[in-house]
């Protein structure tokens, strides 16, 4: 199994506060990898570092074979076309409709015809479970759950190999959340995606995540499959997985 993301000694400092102190983990191709931990432990920060929105202070972070700490502008652009990112609240461009949001990367990066792009957009809208009649609505006109689905459709627009999800099920009702989990599993199966996700939703974690890294006290306290996790001696793991996890 080839490694998609590899972190070595990642250290993050905000002012005087150390957020991560030497994180090591690796994410393999084709797996759904969860980043878990108590609030404020820096899961989202770590995700932002992987997608080059924030810099790490020391260590190395390799994504799809590129070291993001010393990447050239050209390679960075190449890398950005190989992943999709779903932000917590969708982060759709508010001046564009759903269909235009999804079509944007296609217009910018490919020389496909308008007709072809329309077809692709229709397919993406359909695959994430949105209705085609919603395609021309603007982000301000749709619900939070629909925004997430539209955000996912946009993240998938370029058929990325790697998908980053920041709390994909938070703020969704339980039924939509389970649908979302099922969708993620289906996409992994269909498109052979590698998925990195930050989540607090225990049900979603149990249903989808293959392997996880648990961050607590600035370190990774556990990395691996969730099967025998409750034997690990960590306050967070004990309270999070302890009683509810079989």
């Amino acid at each position: 199994m080839s490694v998609v993301i590899k972190a070595q000694g990642v250290k993050t400092v905000f002012g005087e506060k150390i957020v991560h102190n030497g994180l090591n983990f690796s994410i393999n191709k084709g797996e759904i990898f969860g980043l878990l931990g108590p609030s404020g432990c820096g899961k989202t920060t770590l995700l932002r570092e992987m997608v080059m929105l924030q810099e790490i202070q020391s260590g190395s972070l390799e994504v799809l074979g590129y070291d993001v700490t010393k990447i050239t502008h050209k390679n960075a652009q190449k890398l950005r076309q190989q992943w999709g990112v779903l932000f917590q609240a969708g982060a759709l461009f508010s001046s564009l409709s759903i269909a235009q949001n999804i079509a944007l990367p296609l217009f910018e990066y490919t020389d496909l015809s308008k007709k072809m792009i329309d077809e692709i957009v229709k397919f993406k809208i359909d695959i994430v479970g949105l209705k085609l009649s919603d395609a021309n609505l603007f982000p301000s006109e749709i619900s939070g759950g629909m925004k997430k689905k539209a955000g996912l459709a946009r993240a998938l627009a370029m058929d990325p190999k790697l998908l980053f999800l920041d709390e994909p099920t938070s703020g969704l009702d339980p039924i939509s959340a389970r649908d979302f989990d099922a969708l993620i599993l289906k996409l992994r199966e269909l498109l052979g995606l590698t998925i990195v996700m930050v989540s607090h939703d225990l049900r979603s974690i149990n249903d989808t995540v293959d392997r996880a890294a648990i961050i607590d006290e600035k370190k990774i306290v556990y990395e691996g499959a969730l099967d025998n996790i409750s034997s690990i001696d960590s306050k967070f793991i004990q309270t999070f997985f302890g009683e509810s996890y079989e």
Partner: protein, 371 residues
């Protein structure tokens, strides 16, 4: 249910405080006063009797704990009489939570504040320089590959911030021309120098008034809009989303706005020139009985074309300042809604200030150059 009250009895050296009914945070100050009314100097033993207490909330529990601490430090013998497990648990819970007040009190010293402020200002300045650097790099990229110029966005912004501002600029400039002419007509009449209103209006409007009025209206209209738009995009993570998709926000959002305003500003100043002169002409006609033909022929004679060019040339500079300050302030917005308001205010104030400074520099430069 018993009515909530406090019963305090003093027997020789023994003080008994009996709680009845419920004790919640609304009763604390009343009870505190009641207890403090007793002189405790001779008291050796204190009994806190809570056996008749039905309910205790956490605020009151904290009060009882502090009471207990107070009595123990005097020192007196303290007996707590209570058999209600829930109440005891509440007391225990509030006692166990040890909160340090390290973060509560932060000492401010004048020198410390001054230093912090200075560092903050310095960082602000550096980030503004960084912003200009990034704008410049994005501009170079536009020049290197003209294909990447976002013409659609540029035209969209020209429409938004210039075409839609035609009416307001026209009205403002017309009124300014009217007012300036009206005020000076009164003075000129005293000297019988009626015809010189043409010289006065032509030079002051072309050189100074029109560019400044236009810049101020645009700073209030577009500068604030840029800050609010980009600030909101930052809060909703749209900027982050753009970056992860490999779209440079400078090429997509920043430069189109700056370029659009730089193109539009001279046009707006031209419009403002026309409207202000028109306003002045009307007043000259009514107040000083200078006919339109006379006004125009005098205008042709005395007003050099250079005055017009000087006003127009200021446009792109003012536009650059307004647009870049507006956008920079938008990018400075933090993850809270308050900072949009704060930065929008700053953006308008700073851009008007910058425009006036720039105008002063132009004024000195042109005068020294003899233009």
């Amino acid at each position: 249910m018993v009515k909530s009250h406090l019963e305090i009895t003093l027997q020789n050296t023994e003080l008994s405080i009996k709680f009845y009914g419920k004790f919640d945070l609304y009763l604390i100050s009343k009870y505190e006063k009641q207890i403090s009314d007793f002189k405790l100097t001779n008291v050796k033993t204190v009994n806190l009797d809570m056996s008749n207490l039905e309910f205790l909330d956490t605020a009151s529990a904290i009060f009882i704990n502090s009471l207990e601490k107070d009595f123990l430090s005097k020192p007196k013998i303290l007996n707590i009489i209570c058999d209600n497990k829930i109440i005891l648990d509440t007391l225990k819970l509030t006692k166990n939570s040890t909160y340090s007040n390290v973060y509560m009190e932060q000492k401010n010293s004048f020198l410390g504040d001054f230093g912090k402020n200075l560092v903050l200002r310095y960082k602000d300045f550096i980030s503004f320089i960084e912003f200009f650097g990034l704008v410049f790099v994005a501009f170079l990229k536009y020049i290197i590959s003209p294909k990447s110029i976002r013409f659609r966005e540029i035209f969209f912004e020209i429409n938004e911030s210039a075409i839609k501002a035609f009416v307001i600029i026209s009205i403002t400039s017309f009124l300014i021309g009217l007012v300036v002419a009206y005020q000076s007509a009164y003075q000129l009449k005293l000297y019988g120098a009626n015809i010189f209103i043409v010289d006065m209006l032509g030079i002051s409007i072309f050189r100074e008034l029109s560019p400044l009025i236009t810049a101020i209206v645009i700073a209030g209209r577009s500068g604030s809009a840029y800050t609010a738009q980009i600030g909101a995009m930052k809060i909703t993570q749209e900027l982050d989303a753009m970056k992860t998709m490999g779209f440079d926000p400078f090429a997509f959002l920043v430069l189109p706005r700056i370029i659009a305003l730089m193109i539009a500003m001279p046009l707006l100043i031209f419009l403002s020139d026309m409207m202000a002169i028109f306003g002045g002409m009307i007043i000259s006609n009514i107040d000083l009985s200078i006919s339109t033909e006379l006004f125009l022929s005098r205008f042709n004679e005395v007003i050099d074309i250079k005055h017009f060019y000087i006003g127009i040339i200021k446009g792109p500079f003012f536009a650059f300042l307004i647009a870049s300050i507006g956008i920079y302030r938008g990018l400075m917005v933090k993850d809270d809604t308050q900072s949009i308001g704060f930065n929008t205010t700053k953006s308008v104030v700073e851009s008007i200030f910058a425009v006036i400074i720039c105008d002063a520099v132009f004024s000195i430069a042109f005068t020294n150059l003899g233009i």
